[in-house]
């Protein structure tokens, strides 16, 4: 298939960006969106032009490194799919496709389609862990039975890949879904309960410091999440946060 692309080009964080027009021809329907971008880049390189910078790594939908706003949606039109797993068979010959970076104050553009998502790492550093040192003497793994339903719910929350689509989808660029996924995972497990109150307060504070907006209650985050993190987690985050702010010792 032949496609017209409108791709966001921006030299670096400080410079001003704009959409540029490109054409790619003979794209295989079996190729992924990123392989289509590879094809564009190879043509640009052969012509002596600057290829489009974009983040990507595992290309199997799990590392969370790929991003891109495609036709106005993070990771493009297919639900439950990262950009690397979006295949060109979802597009038609002759389509015009808009390709832009994730847009949020807390995710500054580094170059073209690559953005800086280190804010997510700093939110996790604020409390997204269980404070246990490495030791050969922790409890036996089966010492505390965990109900299967809790373990499964914790697992579902823990599958967040940290890509930032939730932030990009939200009109307020809120990180509530991301933060709530980690808070939920650890709040559901006995191992995480000890620090639950401090954790939720610290993570929410850090989220605010990074410049993410408030929850908009729109729900676009869950709709666009490539791994289906549910809004229930935000409800749990709110409950945890309220509980912590009413009863925390600090």
């Amino acid at each position: 298939m032949d496609l017209k692309l409108k791709v966001w080009r921006q030299a670096n964080t400080e410079s001003k960006g704009s959409l540029k027009d490109y054409q790619v021809k003979d794209v295989s329907a079996d190729s992924s969106f990123l392989e289509m971008m590879d094809q564009l880049n190879e043509e640009l390189i052969d012509k002596g032009d600057d290829p489009v910078a974009f983040d990507h790594d595992c290309r199997e939908g799990i590392c969370g490194m790929c991003s891109m706003h495609i036709n106005g949606e993070p990771h493009g039109p297919e639900t439950g799919t990262t950009t690397c797993q979006l295949h060109m068979r979802k597009f038609k010959d002759g389509d015009t496709i808009y390709v832009e970076p994730f847009r949020a104050k807390a995710f500054p553009v580094l170059k073209d389609l690559a953005v800086d998502r280190a804010a997510f790492d700093r939110v996790i550093q604020a409390g997204g862990f269980v404070s246990v040192n490495t030791s050969g003497n922790t409890l036996d793994a089966n010492a505390i039975p965990v109900p299967k339903s809790d373990a499964d719910a914790a697992f579902n929350a823990a599958t967040c890949i940290g890509c930032g689509a939730c932030v990009a989808a939200c009109p307020n660029a809120s990180a509530m879904l991301f933060v709530s996924a980690k808070v939920s995972q650890l709040a559901l497990l006995p191992q995480g309960k000890v620090e639950a109150k401090d954790r939720v307060e610290n993570m929410v504070n850090q989220m605010d410091l990074e410049g993410f907006g408030n929850c908009s209650n729109v729900g676009a985050c869950a709709e666009e999440c490539p791994v289906g993190i549910s809004l229930e987690n935000i409800a749990r985050l709110n409950r945890e946060y309220l509980g912590a702010s009413l009863t925390a010792s600090k």
């Binding site: 392989e35 032009d49 595992c58 290309r59 793994a141």
Partner: protein, 667 residues
């Protein structure tokens, strides 16, 4: 030169305990004055960084990705082995040790493998304590499943995302230490050289991938945990950025590189669909618990399927050849990876392949869906369930077990694997070879360590499924925290490493020179990917699933010519003072082109077949691998001499005191 493994004395099961009891320690006050650099933040790197920081060392952690959580350990699917014997099926530390030695075709060190089995149980305890949500049974206890090459269920898992959950556990431990200031994280940084001073590793040169700045970093020890080099084949299941450069640079600075030709070709990957393809996707080995592998019995049926005239579901049972069950009745579909891959290649080479390219076999879940459906009907008290009911119930069970894998398959192939069998074919997945290390995981360069897939030590010539996660975390959580002290105890008076030393300046200017050479070419013919693809094709054809002397000799010549052409006329766009992913890729491919040549040389010199290394000249009449223990029971370690094909071979004889060397049989 001789390489001393420094394996501790004493009986096998006491070696690690004795070693730990007698190892030199660094006291807490001194740890505060010691810096450690860690390259890579996968399971090995993150767990090492977190553990060393908890102990009090100052850690500098480097990753090329935007976040440490992206490292490719995240993509590991099936599970992690541990000798817990929760299933009461006869598992033990010894059995895990024995399975790993045997699975590796008797080409790994006994003492290292025993230690791995010994600490495996602690990994599960540690991960659970961190909040890793492993799969559980209804009673609340941890669930297990079975993997290839073993007859017990010792694999712990979190659906098809075990690597993700374990890595996020290690990442959370790392994040905690970053928040305490004990780890300084350098994301979007790539190590481009190791700096040695008076023979000791003293730091690195790294490039900031956002602004292109080349910087110096000093430390008392450098730990390489940068993963494997499967991307030398261009198409592999590795991430696009996975590269061998850190290990290769260490090799060029004097570290021996061991068994480079031992490559794992994983049997269950989604087949190649066209020339646009940039990477291959694995379908977890756990699928072989329930999937049955087959091709048509009749060549005519295979042909009709390839032409689209016949569907696999049209073929009745007697017209199918379940070739693994036929050839290996006792292990069936759960034979080790090398055996399963070769068997698939054999059938496809004979013309039984089932996709357009003729390079695919079926992985069929119909039998499992029926079996689970019937069980589920019984549980739910449904008498005489209809066929449709059984199928529906069975599909639900299979979905709960492998749902994400099936969904991924459908996205890539556009075909529903619940209805028609999956198509799979072997692909490059893991590299058993790597930097030579002693029992302390130190290379022959003092102060330079290698962990996880980056070292060679535990998997011999073939890694068993669910053992990579085990080794990465064992090395990072439970081995290096002890063994690094043995070296660092001599460094307590060294003081901060001065990066203004001559050695740093020299290494930095060499790196800058390479960058300038790549960017300022007068002739610019082809893109980096052009060369990478060409290299991959040579490697796959000449040094892939089956190798022979003639092909390997040709491979060495072809790679050498390709490398010359690359340096003469590669086209790298952009400048050095900006984010320039093409330049970063060019530097990695340049290293792959040297490493590939060494892999061919190693494969040429090893005149036997063992594990993933299959030399066509050395096979039995039934086409099974023919190992030659008398001549080749050694580790091949290579010393760099200026040209990869002229590397010097150092042999470390493998001594087996606790297991008897046998011909591996899974029949």
């Amino acid at each position: 030169m001789k390489l001393d493994s420094r394996t501790p004395e004493g009986p096998l099961e006491k070696k690690w305990q004795n070693h730990k009891a007698n190892i030199r320690l660094v006291n807490p006050a001194n740890k505060r004055n010691i810096d450690v650099i860690i390259i890579g933040t996968g399971l090995a790197g993150s767990s090492a960084a977190a553990s060393l920081a908890e102990m009090g060392y100052n850690v500098k952690a480097f990753c090329f990705q935007d976040s440490p959580r992206r490292a490719h350990s995240i993509a590991a699917q099936g599970g992690i082995n541990a000798a817990k014997n929760y299933q009461n099926d006869g598992d033990s530390v010894y059995r895990l040790f024995y399975d790993t030695i045997k699975g590796g075709d008797y080409r790994s060190r006994e003492a290292n493998v025993y230690r791995l089995a010994e600490v495996s149980a602690n990994i599960i305890d540690q991960a659970v304590a961190q909040g890793v949500p492993f799969a559980r049974e209804y009673g609340g206890n941890l669930d297990n499943r079975s993997f290839g090459g073993v007859q017990v269920s010792r694999t712990f898992y979190a659906k098809g995302q075990t690597g993700q959950q374990l890595l996020l556990g290690a990442y959370s431990a790392l994040s905690r230490q970053i928040s305490k200031g004990k780890v300084k994280l350098y994301n979007r940084h790539e190590m481009l050289d190791v700096v040695t001073v008076d023979g000791k590793a003293r730091g690195i040169i790294a490039k900031n991938l956002v602004n292109g700045k080349v910087e110096r970093f000093g430390a008392h020890a450098v730990v390489i945990a940068s993963g494997g080099y499967g991307n030398v084949f261009y198409l592999s299941t590795n991430a696009m950025g996975s590269n061998g450069s850190a290990a290769w640079k260490a090799h060029k600075k004097g570290a021996a590189f061991s068994n480079p030709c031992f490559t794992q070709i994983h049997p269950t990957c989604i087949p190649v669909s066209g020339s646009h393809q940039s990477k291959l996707t694995l379908m977890s080995e756990s699928l072989r618990n329930d999937g049955r592998i087959w091709v048509p019995k009749d060549l005519k049926d295979a042909e009709a399927i390839r032409e689209g005239k016949l569907k696999p579901t049209d073929l009745s049972e007697e017209k199918r050849d379940y070739y693994l069950e036929r050839r290996y009745p006792s292990f069936g579909n759960l034979v080790p990876r090398d055996v399963a891959s070769r068997a698939a290649k054999e059938r496809c080479d004979e013309g039984f392949g089932v996709n357009k390219t003729g390079e695919a076999v079926y992985l069929d879940f119909a039998a499992a869906i029926e079996r689970y459906g019937k069980t589920e009907a019984t549980i739910q008290g449904i008498d005489n369930p209809s066929k449709e009911q059984v199928k529906e119930l069975g599909t639900q069970v299979v979905e709960a077990k492998y749902g994400n894998l099936f969904a991924m398959y459908e996205k890539i192939v556009d075909d529903n694997p619940y209805q028609t069998p999956m198509m799979i074919y072997p692909a490059v997945h893991y590299t058993m070879g790597g930097l030579w290390v002693d029992y302390n995981l130190m290379t022959n360069v003092p102060g330079l360590f290698a962990l996880g897939e980056a070292n060679f030590s535990d998997h011999g010539a073939n890694r068993l499924g669910a053992s990579a996660l085990m080794q990465g975390l064992a090395d990072g959580y439970f081995v290096i925290p002890y063994t690094i002290g043995d070296y660092l105890s001599e460094e307590i008076r060294t003081g901060e490493i001065d990066t203004n030393q001559e050695a740093f300046a020299k290494a930095e200017s060499e790196v800058k020179e390479t960058i300038d050479t790549l960017l300022n070419k007068t002739t610019k013919k082809h893109s980096v990917d052009h060369y990478h693809r060409a290299l991959g094709k040579i490697m796959w054809d000449k040094c892939g699933m089956a190798r022979n002397a003639q092909g390997l000799q040709e491979g060495i010549k072809e790679i050498s010519a390709l490398r010359a052409d690359f340096w003469a006329s590669v086209r790298v766009p952009g400048t050095k003072n900006e984010m320039n992913p093409e330049l970063d890729k060019a530097m990695r491919v340049a290293d792959f082109m040297e490493l590939g040549e060494l892999m061919c040389k190693d494969a040429l010199e090893r005149e036997e077949s063992c594990g993933g290394h299959f030399r066509e000249e050395f096979q039995t009449e039934e086409g099974e691998a023919l190992r030659r223990d008398e001549e080749f029971a050694f580790v091949s370690s290579w010393q760099y001499t200026g040209n990869p094909s002229e590397a010097e071979l150092i042999k470390e004889d493998l001594v087996f005191e606790n297991v008897e060397l046998k011909t591996r049989s899974y029949k």
